[in-house]
């Protein structure tokens, strides 16, 4: 009995080998693996039958065993959804590995080309050897599929056990499921692209983000209010401190060089090179420190491989070019060389491009609170605030317009932050409202402090006094405020994700 076609799709099953002496029974479908490779225009995908799943989590355990992952990393996860009212309550489970999307956002974001979508099987594969641990894919995926393993310094994810499939064996999760709720099947990509409604389910982000290929069979009578059970407790995200440090300082450098370029252009001659070199040093250090964010800093140089699609690669390129151009401009200031207006303008332009690339990194659908113009506004407002304050604090110029520029930056940042909060708080999107709840709840003190700093150091101080001491204090305070703000930017984003189980504390057992 071979090649018994089941279901309406192209799914083919291998018949179980019956061991002599075993009872011949209607075994639930096991060894569920397609018998053929996908043809052109097709790919493998998971099918999950919610009507069969009993939430036993065998798939999760089997996946961790298969891949030797520590308990805290689960390439397959089971989430719980609930709806209705007692006794007409409904509870269902979602089991999900990787959705092997038609348009994988992890792959598009990856700066080092660690991801490939297998052109035969459609499996989104990830190379732990190529990966540098930047974790940008973990920000890009709306389902939380790629997971960073701090012990290894690299990300990992479900690869549909394609090495088992090619041996004619079922993936670990499929094989483990006692209810036959998970299967692998073949899908026609063009047809799926035209209608992928079956990829959506309560408790899952919209499949629009990346066209998930996982087909989900839902219960026919799902209660309309069926939804996640894990939304009552919002956990802050990782702060990524090296990035907090780097982003603010590169933006400071952009602002500082813009001011220095204008000062130089308008005929100001006093020792501008001091300020230029100082800000360059800060930016340089920050770029170096930012590699500490990587799981594998030694391979930071790979980060420009993905220029064709990754904003992270483009940021690295943009900020490197800015650093080069700014060094050139600083050198010209130091040695009083001609052609500075043009060189300075070039440096500022490259800096602006670099900061824009920085901002674009965060404009991802999987992180709704980042995915708005406020991110761009926040980054440029930091430049406009800190650049002038820095130049004033280095004492090279007391020009009044610099103070006004800083105040404009402070006001812009203040407005951006308050408007963003109102936008979050009034949104009907769960992740956005959850972000606002983090800001107004757990992080209220930090948020208010940041606003206070913006008023004091960004508005009042620069306009009230031109004394060097005040300028230095204002700069230091404003810098601290922006770091605090950027830290809030990272910790208060609530990513899209699949529904989780209820337990609030994801206790990590060694």
């Amino acid at each position: 009995m071979k090649g018994l076609p089941l279901l309406e799709s192209d799914l083919l099953y291998l018949s179980p080998d019956l061991t002599p002496g075993a009872l011949v029974r209607i075994a639930p479908a096991r060894h569920m693996a397609p018998l053929r490779l996908p043809e052109a225009g097709e790919q493998y995908r998971f099918h999950f039958d919610m009507t069969k799943c009993i939430g036993c989590k065998c798939c999760v355990v089997a996946c961790n065993e298969q891949n030797g992952n520590p308990a805290a990393i689960n390439w397959r996860r089971v989430g719980e959804i609930e709806g209705g009212h007692y006794p007409h309550t409904q509870r269902h489970y979602l089991s999900m590995g990787c959705n092997h999307c038609v348009e994988p956002s992890c792959l598009n974001g990856c700066p080092v080309e660690a991801y490939t979508k297998n052109f035969v099987t459609g499996v989104v594969e990830h190379s732990a050897d190529t990966c540098i641990g930047c974790q940008y894919c973990t920000w890009n995926c709306s389902y939380g599929v790629p997971q960073y393993n701090p012990a290894r310094g690299v990300v990992g994810k479900c690869d549909l056990c394609h090495n088992r499939l090619s041996d004619g064996m079922a993936p670990a999760c499929v094989q483990a499921c006692p209810e036959g709720a998970i299967a692998v099947e073949i899908v026609n990509i063009a047809e799926w692209r035209a209608d992928y409604l079956a990829a959506n389910a309560p408790g899952l982000p919209s499949a629009d983000d990346s066209i998930s290929t996982t087909r989900i069979t839902l219960p026919a009578d799902l209660a309309p209010d069926t939804g996640r059970v894990d939304t009552q407790q919002i956990r802050p995200e990782h702060p990524h401190l090296p990035l907090v440090f780097m982003l603010v300082l590169t933006q400071l450098a952009l602002g500082a060089f813009a001011v220095l370029w204008l000062l130089d252009w308008t005929g100001h001659t006093a020792r501008l090179w001091i300020s230029a070199l100082a800000s360059l040093a800060l930016a340089g250090v920050s770029l170096g420190v930012s590699t500490l964010h990587l799981g594998r800093p030694v391979y930071a140089w790979r980060a420009m491989r993905g220029l064709r699609h990754s904003w992270l690669s483009r940021e690295v390129l943009g900020l490197s070019l800015f650093a080069g151009a700014a060094s050139g401009f600083a050198g010209m200031l130091l040695f009083d060389m001609p052609g500075r207006p043009l060189a300075g303008f070039g440096a500022v332009l490259l800096g602006a491009a670099g900061v824009m690339c920085s901002a674009r990194i965060y404009l991802v659908r999987a992180r709704p609170a980042w995915n708005s113009g406020y991110t761009v506004a926040e980054f440029f407002a930091t430049a406009l605030l800190l650049g002038p304050l820095f130049v004033r604090a280095t004492g090279v110029s007391g020009a009044h317009w610099i103070a006004w520029a800083a105040a404009c930056g402070g006001a812009a940042q203040l407005a951006a932050q308050m408007l963003k909060f109102l936008w979050l708080a009034q949104s009907e999107t769960f992740e956005l409202r959850a972000s606002s709840r983090l800001i107004s709840g757990q992080f209220r003190g930090a948020f208010l402090a940041r606003l206070g700093v913006l008023v004091a150091a960004g508005l009042v101080a620069p306009l009230a006094s031109g004394r060097l001491g005040v300028s230095i204090a204002a700069f230091a305070l404003a810098l601290a405020g922006e770091w605090l703000g950027r830290w809030l930017f990272f910790v208060t984003v609530v990513p899209k994700n699949m529904a989780a189980g209820f337990p609030a504390r994801a206790k990590v057992a060694a």
Binding site: G21, E65, G68, A71, E82, R91, A509
Partner: protein, 727 residues
């Protein structure tokens, strides 16, 4: 610090390498074994066949034993990670003796010397029955058989019981009263062949998930689940009966009432194989639908639908677990289940059975061989013929066999409080988590002169209190047999050596016997579990639980075999009890028994307005001694939670994830995470009991079934407070 790792040259590729192996296919290299040892899962009583992958002396993987008839190539999440229990950090490696208040390592010689000396001294001073022994459902049958002889004949105390009294003793009592003997009549296959399956207080999706595939493979069935909570199993049902807490006996009587009223009964079966029908019919007059619906909270439509479905079924199956057993009316509820089966002739046929789904991996083994609530082979203490037969088999004076059962588990505990029990031996169980009303238990154990705890792990809340802790080998480290819920005997095999000086319980029992000087008499020539099994085959011959046709060789070849299998009879894949309608009672007939519904003992009031229900979750096993050692299971279910309906929470201003205290008249569980959910009815709350850190049994009550002595775990009155609101 690995500098190459910090800078990223090394990404631990070696630790995360994959490899291809003909046995496992492509998988994590660290899982690849040199050899696979087939055995039986050591958690629950489903009794799944499992193989342990061994490399060196290390269990590196497990997988389902494909040829095993029970689990069909599948395992639950606990089974799938079971090898992690073996090399756990908390394994006990050497005997520990309390000296100057502290447990210190001692030699086996000193440990056994101290144990026997102290037990003997206590017994000499306070009488033989001042020693209480609490056994388990976790050992192999051969160990239970040896332990029973050692305790009853060697130590000479009959105050011997197992943790099975916290679990299945109600089913045992119920079967004995209705059918004349213990022994679940049906088989798992019945789940697949029934057209109506009624599950009562049985959340098999969490507790016996591997049985769900039998239901999944049965397209004809109508599944009815009676449970006050919308469990995972209730979600699988075609018809969920959300009855009020412990109204099951009224429901069953109400169903019986409708069956009789509409003549949905098998009068021929009743006439030929039962007694007590007339009396039952008169009794059932008291349970008209309107009254039953008031008690149960169900609609008359739900009640009639259930009764008609079951009454008209070609093959009706009733399965139950702790929702029924954990009750002061448990035995009578089991009788009421048996009544339904007898009324409709739904017994002894494919798909038709009243069936207790047992808890522990070898609770059945101890029921058959254990010498606690009955003598080995389901022999009755009070039956002179049974005593004479057993004495002859053992070649001992009949007077050495007790003529009545000793104290049951809760009564041993109570006896310790009263000074009747002065020394105790606790084997492979952890009452400091699992026993109801922990305050009483703590008092009991504190009053003991000498407490010996034998376990694979230390510390557990119970070993911490012991005067002597004996390190035992666990699953994967010893040999024997388990018998599962459907009477199927499976071989248990050793894959690796126990850690340190830990020894199989079997060896410990023989060593204790040696010290006592009764080894040669009780265990003549015994070297290993195989000798115990051979003797047990002889002792069980001719009994309902007849093992005489089962041998280790047969188990190795067939994987698992159901009893009864008298020597010389042909092997059958699936056997059922009472196929011929003959029951092991004096007149060969089953009995209809009338059990009056009563409200559960501790009703809620204004001070304690909520009913606490306790239970389990799929990731953990009992008191979590083993599963807390498995990182992935801890990850998936790290701590206890309390389920409460939002309508109740609104009144006291609580929200999901708040930390709350559960308070009863007896105690307090502090800092449980609150889960607001419609899974639970208003007026009720639920929490799992696995977690020693937040132990539900601090608040449960000392109320026991008068016949089975099983605790009424499932209902007690509590109030919920914000953590630390009062204390």
């Amino acid at each position: 610090m690995n500098i190459k790792r910090v800078i990223g040259l090394d990404n631990l590729a070696g630790d995360y390498a994959y490899a291809r192996d003909p046995e496992t296919g492509y998988t994590a290299a660290r899982r690849i074994a040199d050899q696979w040892v087939s055995t039986t899962c050591g958690y629950c009583s489903v009794g799944c066949g499992i193989e342990i992958g061994v490399r060196g002396n290390r269990a590196v993987a497990v997988r389902a034993l494909e040829s095993h008839p029970v689990n069909r190539g599948k395992l639950c999440p606990k089974g799938l990670s079971e090898h992690h229990t073996i090399a756990a950090e908390n394994r006990l490696k050497r005997p520990l003796l309390r000296r100057n208040g502290k447990l210190v390592e001692v030699s086996w010689d000193d440990a056994l010397g101290a144990m026997v000396e102290r037990f003997r001294a206590t017994q000499e001073r306070h009488g033989r029955n001042s020693l209480g022994v609490i056994s388990t459902g976790q050992l192999v049958t051969e160990e239970f058989y040896a332990l029973g002889k050692l305790v009853q004949l060697g130590f000479g105390t009959n105050n011997f019981d197992g943790n099975t009294t916290l679990c299945m003793s109600t089913a045992v009592s119920g079967y004995k009263l209705s059918f004349g003997s213990d022994g679940p009549p049906g088989a798992y296959e019945d789940l697949e062949r029934a057209d109506v399956v009624l599950l009562l207080g049985a959340n098999i999706a969490d507790n016996h998930p591997i049985l769900c595939q039998y239901l999944e493979a049965n397209p004809r069935k109508t599944l009815i689940v009676a449970d006050p909570r919308v469990t995972k199993t209730a979600m699988m049902a075609d018809l969920h009966l959300p009855l009020k807490p412990r109204s099951d006996l009224a429901l069953l009587n109400g169903i019986a009432h409708i069956l009789v009223r509409y003549n949905l009964i098998d009068r021929e079966y009743i006439a030929r194989h039962t007694t007590g029908f007339e009396e039952l019919v008169r009794f059932l007059d008291e349970y008209p639908p309107a009254k039953v619906c008031e008690i149960t909270g169900l609609s008359e439509e739900q009640l009639h639908k259930t009764a008609f479905l079951y009454g008209r079924a070609q093959a009706g199956f009733i399965g139950w677990t702790m929702g029924v057993n954990h009750s002061t009316k448990g035995t009578e509820t089991v009788n009421a289940i048996c009544n339904l089966a007898l009324l409709t002739g739904n017994i002894g046929r494919a798909g038709a059975a009243p069936f207790s789904i047992t808890g522990q991996c070898n609770a059945m083994g101890t029921r058959e061989t254990g010498f606690t609530s009955s003598m080995p082979g389901y022999r009755k203490f009070d039956d002179a013929g049974d005593r004479a037969e057993l004495a002859a088999l053992w070649n001992i004076a009949e007077s050495r066999l007790p003529a009545k059962r000793g104290l049951a588990y809760p009564d041993i505990v109570e006896g310790a409080v009263g000074g009747k029990i002065r020394a105790m031996w606790i084997i492979a169980t952890n009452p400091l988590v699992s026993f109801p009303n922990q305050g009483v238990l703590r008092q009991a154990l504190a009053d003991l002169e000498f407490l010996v705890v034998q376990d694979g792990y230390h510390p557990t809340p119970t070993t911490e209190l012991a005067h002597l802790v004996l390190p035992a080998a666990i699953w994967g480290e010893k040999e024997g047999t388990y018998t599962n819920s459907e009477r199927r005997v499976s071989k248990v095999n050793k894959a690796v050596d126990p850690p340190g000086e830990a020894r199989p319980d079997f060896d410990i029992f023989l060593a204790v016997a040696e010290r006592l000087g009764c080894r040669d008499e009780l265990f003549p020539g015994w070297m290993g579990p195989g000798d115990a099994f051979e003797e047990w085959r002889r002792v069980s011959r001719g009994r309902l639980c007849d093992y005489s046709g089962i041998s280790y060789e047969m188990l190795a070849g067939r994987g698992a075999v159901q009893w009864p299998l008298p020597e010389g009879t042909p092997f059958r894949e699936t056997s059922r009890l009472y196929e011929d309608g003959k029951f092991p009672t004096a007149d060969g007939r089953a009995r209809f028994l009338c059990g009056e519904w009563e409200p559960f003992p501790e009703q809620p009031n204004t001070e304690y307005p909520l009913v606490l229900n306790t239970g389990r979750t799929v990731e953990h096993w009992h008191t979590r001694t083993k599963t807390r050692e498995v990182p992935i299971l801890e990850r998936l279910s790290p701590e206890a939670w309390l389920e409460m309906n939002p309508r109740d929470a609104g009144r006291i201003g609580l929200r999901s994830h708040d930390r709350v205290d559960v308070v009863s008249r007896r105690g307090r569980v502090s800092g449980v995470e609150l889960r607001l959910t419609e899974i639970i009815a208003p007026g009720q709350v639920f929490m799992p009991f696995h977690y020693s850190e937040t132990n539900a049994n601090e608040v449960t009550q000392s109320a026991f079934d008068p016949i089975s002595r099983e605790p009424n775990y499932k209902q007690c009155a509590v109030r919920i407070e914000r953590k630390g609101a009062t204390s």
